[in-house]
Symmetry: none
Amino acid sequence: MTPSPERRRELLSTAAEVFAAQGYNATTVRRIADEAGMLAGSLYYHFDSKESMVDEILSTFLNELWAGYDEVLAAGLGPRETVEALVTESFREIDRHRAAVAIYQKESQHLATQPRFRYLSESQGRFERAWLGVLERGVAEGVFRADLDIRLAYRFLRDTVWVAASWYRPGGLHSPEEIARQYLSMVLDGITPRGDTDTSRPDTRHDTTTVRPS
Amino acid sequence: MTPSPERRRELLSTAAEVFAAQGYNATTVRRIADEAGMLAGSLYYHFDSKESMVDEILSTFLNELWAGYDEVLAAGLGPRETVEALVTESFREIDRHRAAVAIYQKESQHLATQPRFRYLSESQGRFERAWLGVLERGVAEGVFRADLDIRLAYRFLRDTVWVAASWYRPGGLHSPEEIARQYLSMVLDGITPRGDTDTSRPDTRHDTTTVRPS
Amino acid sequence: MTPSPERRRELLSTAAEVFAAQGYNATTVRRIADEAGMLAGSLYYHFDSKESMVDEILSTFLNELWAGYDEVLAAGLGPRETVEALVTESFREIDRHRAAVAIYQKESQHLATQPRFRYLSESQGRFERAWLGVLERGVAEGVFRADLDIRLAYRFLRDTVWVAASWYRPGGLHSPEEIARQYLSMVLDGITPRGDTDTSRPDTRHDTTTVRPS
Amino acid sequence: MTPSPERRRELLSTAAEVFAAQGYNATTVRRIADEAGMLAGSLYYHFDSKESMVDEILSTFLNELWAGYDEVLAAGLGPRETVEALVTESFREIDRHRAAVAIYQKESQHLATQPRFRYLSESQGRFERAWLGVLERGVAEGVFRADLDIRLAYRFLRDTVWVAASWYRPGGLHSPEEIARQYLSMVLDGITPRGDTDTSRPDTRHDTTTVRPS
DNA sequence: AATGAATGAGCATTCATTCAT
DNA sequence: CATGAATGAATGCTCATTCAT
């Protein structure tokens, strides 16, 4: 009566939570099974291996992430609006896939050395190209500061956003959109007061921070 | 039974490098021994356990870190200058203890659950209080924006700085001071151009970014 | 709870094939089920256990084998004719129960240690007594060489015949009777040419090599 | 004080004995360790894996075997003398490597499917070519019967000799040379009496049954 | 008759650690 | 100081078997 895919998803969700909390290596298959209320061996009815569990967790997450990103990148927005939309989308993904993001942060470098996880490096590459492109375009159009070290700025933005997964708890005080707004405000305008009145309030108009106006 | 402190330091340095590269759990004692040109068992002449190695690596690092931080905090600088000095000091520590910082980033959350590593949480707490204090003072004095969510800004700054250890390579193009300057520029003034002329040039005067002018 | 005997036979045949190909221990119940187009658990509707499958395969085979042997032994043939008939009968059994014979060859020594498979040792004992008797009688009557080490000759004959199951493929170039003839020729007369004309042509008269002239 | 290679040999000998008695798959690493008076994990100080144990057992055996065979094949003996020498050499190897031969018999077909054990198939091929060559030459020179099915005779000889490893016990009544003599007598001249006087006594002159006159 | 899901015992293997030499 | 050999606990995984449906 319980169709297989549902059970898989439940188990993967459990596994992701444990992986995120303890680290992939430090997590034993027995621990996951405990958490799922079954015996270690029983997990192997649903999954080939511990590795295939992280694999499915990470690839599912990345697929959803890129669906969102691609929509943003294809929307033809200006550089600033693209940055806003990408950051907002990222916080939404952190909200929806907190555990997966945390695993990705902690383990991807280590996992990417294995052929099976090549897609992690590829995603990383796509990610970098997308961000560098937006930043360069922004500088060219005068939307971003001309004195930026683009690569440094890229790393700054990338890390700044994703590390949030290590402390973010869904259902907390702030919605992902709210956090995105605050982060964008700091990143775009800095933490010191601006001379001109208007820019001190970061972009909170929904139309620019998201493609999906849901 | 008189292990020379020098050999210890060498071995710890080797261990730190491997821990940073592969992760603490994924690193075998044998791997460290290989790298040090000895057999696994021989390490136990110098150290009690693998755990005591990370312990020594992390505590040595934190001691040095706090020596620098305390000097900054005791110097009676203004909020902005304090932030500048703390960030610069942090990048200097990343430069000097890259491996230790990377280990700290990846493993501290996990390790801090054990009583032996309580000092990690304590350091974290001190760190948080220091930063929150500076930020609050800055907002009160009008040096930082009044609409900041202080806790969010704290996390933003903290993560922003330390994650750099995951990609920073000592002896690269940029000196730690240079990177600190760029980061501070983005954090303080944002990545979009400022309306008023002066603030677009970030604070690069040495006197304010560091207490130790060495 | 009325499993049809036909299905049982089909499944046993499938199982025997896999056991013979991969070895009993190396064969998983799942593999057999795959081959039979069902799930592993479903086999347990038909059989108590994996062990009971080999048991049934081997005992069925041995029953048929001894039916043939007993007929030969009871026919009152001379020693040479008895040897010929036994060898021919053996190759016929290899032809009909190739998989079972192969399993018997590979696993009987191992299985015979368990009480359940005592009949394997018993069969082995009967087999040995029958052969030793024929050989002794043959030597006494001058039909076989007087300088034979009877026990060695027994092992030689026994192994020589049964190992053929490891390479024999039913439906190949040679019929079991043809192979029996060739083997008997080598065993009885040797592989070097005989001085006297007649014996170089091995005994191929059907009447002596089999009791069942079918 | 116990140099490594010696211990290795001891352990391999123990392992070979257990493998031969129980079969490779059915043998647990614990069982081997028990027999060696150590814990299962300790074996891994000496060997990479259970597989590498069989590997070393079989390859060591095959190397020695081929050293003997090559000497025989290079000696330029006539077909009959070559057969005698090969068979005698084979029984000597059975005497010296009984366990390895038994393992080879039972497991080689199964193991040869793995790339690591390709040398098993290669050895098998060399073996076949050598035997077929001698038999063909013997038939051509009139030393062996013209009506032989060469391939069948090859299998007959091959199996006949090697299966002996399943019952042979070193230090028993018969020396390997003695057994070889008896087997050769049966194989060359058959188990029925010859018309001509002399050939009923098989070749027992040392000079022809062995290259190494030790 | 067969499925889907689970059990539980056992297995090969890893690894931090110990210790006599 | 370092080695060589071993320990023992834990780990990921396999597989025959069970059983409600």
